[in-house]
């Protein structure tokens, strides 16, 4: 029995004592490994204490020994729902440091891949919000289209979840025809399916009553908590890295930034929902631009940066320079210029930043990942204070917390 004097029940409570509830580290209702110790007054949350770090893998330390191209595999494992996006962000950071200019076709191919991963990321998040409100079907239904996107990744780079896609300067090989055929299939079929999914939720009374007005955060608080991405936009701030600091030729595309007003679970759902439509439109535009390249231009898939981009195997066997570069790159003996770079991309969850300091050796002197998840998760305690436990579960999913990104 808890000492009565220590109980800080709110006024008007009918309970005799508070209950401590361990939500996590592994709990069927949370998606990812993190713990929340909740102090409850009946079903109402009084206090939350969040513990993270269960899957901390010391990526920043590991990166200090690796040559640049080996760090790509670490970025995969940050937000594993949109791994190619992290890969591309990392390659662009390296290109900024090494002063490598990528051709337009590479930029557009990257945009296609990045927007596909944004779709998979939002698709998982929104369908999981559906699961947590009690609608499992939508999740299973749209999952086959994530599968199709993963097949596109597979055609492009050979792997699916942790992709290690692309190289500094471009891609490891040109996109095969099969990848484009599957992309066309995706663009043809997915909108219908997503329309249906949207129809199941966005005007569904049960869903609206579960999500509207719960888990809200105001624009001021969201900014003060350094929110970025869909969670900030749901609160009404139209900050998007793709528009504010365009990278990979995003300035060539026409799209809007959807914003919400209240920053609650419903707005977060709707912002992600609209972002999927915008991403589809960006992919269509990018695919058109890619198709416009004819002749030899259509074979361009990497920058001309022999010091950092692996030469073709045939050249390695027949040309001296190619052999030297091949050896230096594979052994990680390429010296990188000294300097410090901050580059950020609009990740699935917000501004994914890479702060890279090099002192001129073969690997970074220091690499820091700005992980949006880690930064906005600290607001969770404030958001769920005085809400019901079942709302807190939905809030957890609709914030889209990815433990891999949180812990790095």
């Amino acid at each position: 029995m808890v000492d009565q004097a220590n109980i800080n029940l709110p006024e008007g409570s009918i309970e005799k004592q508070t209950t401590t509830l361990n939500l996590g580290p592994t709990h069927p209702a949370t998606h990812g490994v993190f713990q929340n110790i909740l102090e409850m007054d009946g079903e109402r949350i009084i206090k939350t204490e969040s513990t993270v770090g269960y899957i901390h893998r010391a990526f920043e330390k590991l990166a200090e020994r690796r040559p640049l191209y080996q760090i790509t595999t670490l970025t995969d494992r940050l937000n594993y729902c949109s791994a190619p996006l992290n890969n591309m962000g990392w390659h662009m950071t390296c290109e900024k440091l090494l002063d490598v200019k990528t051709p337009k076709r590479v930029d557009y191919l990257r945009v296609i891949i990045m927007e596909l991963s944004r779709i998979t990321d939002h698709l998982i998040c929104n369908s999981i919000v559906g699961v947590d409100t009690g609608a499992y079907t939508g999740f299973l239904y749209v999952m086959q289209y994530r599968e199709l996107v993963y097949e596109i990744y597979e055609e492009v780079c050979g792997s699916r979840l942790t992709t290690n896609m692309g190289r500094i300067g471009g891609f490891e090989r040109n996109f095969p025809d099969a990848a484009f055929r599957k992309l066309e299939k995706f663009l043809e079929e997915f909108p219908k399916v997503w329309k249906e999914f949207e129809g199941l939720f966005s005007r569904n009374r049960i869903f609206i009553e579960r999500t509207k007005g719960t888990g809200a955060i105001s624009a001021e608080r969201a900014l003060n908590y350094s929110f970025t991405g869909p969670n900030l936009r749901a609160a009404g701030i139209d900050y998007d890295v793709r528009v504010h600091s365009p990278y990979s030729s995003y300035e060539d595309f026409d799209f809007i930034i959807p914003v919400g007003t209240t920053g609650d679970n419903y707005d977060r759902f709707m912002v992600r929902n609209e972002e999927i439509w915008q991403s589809l439109s960006i992919i269509r535009q990018a695919y058109e631009k890619v198709q416009a390249f004819k002749g030899t231009d259509a074979d361009v898939y990497h920058a001309d940066a022999p010091e950092y981009y692996l030469p073709a195997k045939a050249d390695v066997y027949t040309k001296m320079e190619a052999l030297i570069y091949h050896f230096k790159i594979v052994m990680g003996e390429t010296e990188i210029p000294a300097g410090e770079v901050y580059h950020s991309v609009e990740g699935g969850n917000g501004e994914l930043g890479f702060y890279l300091i090099s002192d001129g050796g073969r690997s970074p002197f220091r690499l820091h990942f700005r992980r949006p998840c880690f930064i906005y998760y600290q607001a969770y305690a404030e958001i769920v204070k005085d809400t019901m436990l079942s709302d807190a579960i939905i809030t957890l999913s609709s914030l889209n917390l990815i433990a891999g990104e949180m812990d790095a």
């Binding site: 993270v52 010391a58 900014l223 003060n224 702060y355 607001a379």
Partner: protein
Amino acid sequence: MSLNLDIIKEKLEAQFGDKILSWEEPYGMPTFTVQNDHNLKVLTFLFDEQELGFQFLTDITGVHYPDRKGEEIAVVYHLHNLKENFRLRMKVYAPIEKPDVYTATGLFSGANWMERETYDFFGVNFIGHPDLRRVLNVDEMDYFPLRKEYPLEDQTRIDKDDEMFGR
């Protein structure tokens, strides 16, 4: 009117004079260094001053430079003025024996965990932080792992017999 680097420089130097130690612009990001007991004053000034308005904190992190005697630990702030879309980087250096800087949690709620992370990995003591505990590592840890004196394990070692992760 739009914000530019000259305005920022002029304002900061008028307010803080020689407390602003240096200016540089690596890869297009304006960066300045400030004396380590003035970090909070400068952040507050950048936050409150109408024309500057750096009210969004992108990131806080630390760097360990073992070769810089007396200023081994650097704390790096990335600030962003979202209205003018202007990014700024601020650095403070502190000696490793006494790595004290003031906390920014009073200005930015988001600074809380960022500072805890910096404390966790570099041992930076943020004076005035409401809850300066480790965040990613275990509480019992008694060292700061991202400091350079803790090298990664030698990849070629063969003396280790580990049944679970045998090599």
